[in-house]
């Protein structure tokens, strides 16, 4: 199976502290991998390094070694705060923008954007700004925005943060419908259990454990030691 992401001996340091220490793992095509860890364990930093937004020491190889900048077209990323991604006057325009930037005609881009909003059950909000939506709807819109560019690899940073139970369920159902490689950082254990097959557990910037999702997420002693329960 093709390797989509290879991370090897990755270290990253903020001014005064080491955020990542010797991180190594791989993700194969089509895999859905969870990144779990307590607050401050380095999840977001790792995702930013993978997306090429931060540069650490070590190797981050995407799609068989293409430079990160070339890979960005194949990556979709969902940030913790949807307001960082959605800023246009209407939701449909938010989704159409990346397509227009790629050279698609505005009318076609709008049509594709509306299709994606429909798939995420947001069609009736197409002509509203994102600020008029609930947080759960905005999170779904952010995923739709990431998907509209047809990425091959979806990276998500805390997609369930501040969501209520129903919104979490809706989001996990939507995600399970998407057949692409996914890396999802979260400390919502039930959500990861429902959406990922393998889990990497981070603790203080290091990989503490990795393996099948049910095995890791049901290991109470390990989760307690890592500050997750």
């Amino acid at each position: 199976m093709t390797t989509i992401l290879e991370v090897s001996k990755l270290n990253f340091r903020y001014a005064s502290e080491r955020a990542l220490r010797g991180i190594s793992f791989q993700i194969a095509e089509g895999e859905s991998v969870g990144l779990v860890g307590a607050n401050g364990s380095g999840k977001s930093t790792l995702l930013w390094c993978i997306a090429g937004l931060l540069h650490g020491d070590g190797v981050v190889r995407l799609f068989g070694g293409q430079p990160t900048k070339d890979c960005r077209r194949k990556i979709g990323m969902v940030f913790q705060n949807p307001e960082d991604q959605l800023f246009m006057p209407t939701l449909a325009q938010d989704l159409a923008l990346p397509l227009v930037n790629r050279g698609m005609r505005p009318k076609d881009a709008q049509a594709t954007a509306r299709e994606w909003l429909d798939r995420f059950e947001l069609a009736r909000y197409s002509d509203l700004p994102a600020t008029h939506l609930s947080l759960g709807q905005r999170k779904r819109a952010a995923v739709a925005l990431a998907m509209v560019r047809s990425p091959e690899f979806l990276i998500m940073d805390e997609p369930t943060a501040e969501l209520d139970g129903r919104a979490v369920r809706q989001l996990s159902t939507m995600l399970n419908r998407l057949a692409l490689t996914k890396l999802i950082a979260s400390h919502h254990l039930d959500f990861l259990c429902a959406t990922t097959s393998r889990v990497i557990l981070l603790r203080e910037g290091e990989i503490r454990s990795q393996g099948p999702a049910p095995e890791i997420l049901n290991d109470t002693a390990l989760l307690e030691e890592s500050g997750l329960i």
């Binding site: 937004l53 960005r72 077209r73 990556i75 940030f79 800023f87 006057p89 505005p106």
Partner: protein, 153 residues
């Protein structure tokens, strides 16, 4: 910074809550410009006036222009596309900044019993500093999200 904080905080307590938080920092900036010119020995009123005029024109443009229709109509190859996108960025970020100011000073007002008693000025300074830190964080994340989203393509 403390002046910026006091101005924003005072503005939020008035009736024109929506407009003044935007206006207070701009007016303060214009006053600081005049103060610097005065210290330098020659006051030229045109620069502060120009600042206020640009602020008023941009505010009016943001309020009056039908952004949703404009974006749908503008051809990405036209000369207007980039300026309109730039204004949308500014508009979005101004909204974010106002929201951050509101949160910071609301949190402060819940902790401080009186503005001008002991601890009032210090907490004002910290709240104002926190707005700058948050604004930088938000700007960084917004830029990162747009970079990944393909705005550079």
């Amino acid at each position: 910074m403390i002046g910026f904080g006091i101005a924003s905080h005072a503005a939020m307590r008035t009736k024109a809550r929506m407009a003044l938080p935007f206006a207070a920092p701009v007016l303060l900036f214009a006053l600081v410009l005049i103060a610097f010119q005065w210290l330098n020995g020659s006051v030229d009123i045109r620069l502060p006036l120009r600042t206020i005029a640009v602020f008023l024109c941009s505010t009016a443009a943001f309020r009056i222009l039908p952004w949703a229709d404009l974006i749908a109509e503008i051809d990405p190859r036209s000369h207007w596309y980039l300026p309109v996108m730039f204004l949308l960025f500014v508009h979005h970020f101004a909204t974010v900044l106002v929201e951050e100011v509101r949160r910071a000073f609301q949190a402060r007002s819940l902790c401080v019993s009186a503005n001008f008693r002991r601890g009032g000025f210090q907490s004002m300074a910290w709240a104002t500093a926190s707005v700058f830190r948050r604004a930088i964080d938000r700007a960084e994340r917004f830029y990162a999200a747009q970079t990944i989203g393909g705005i550079e393509e």
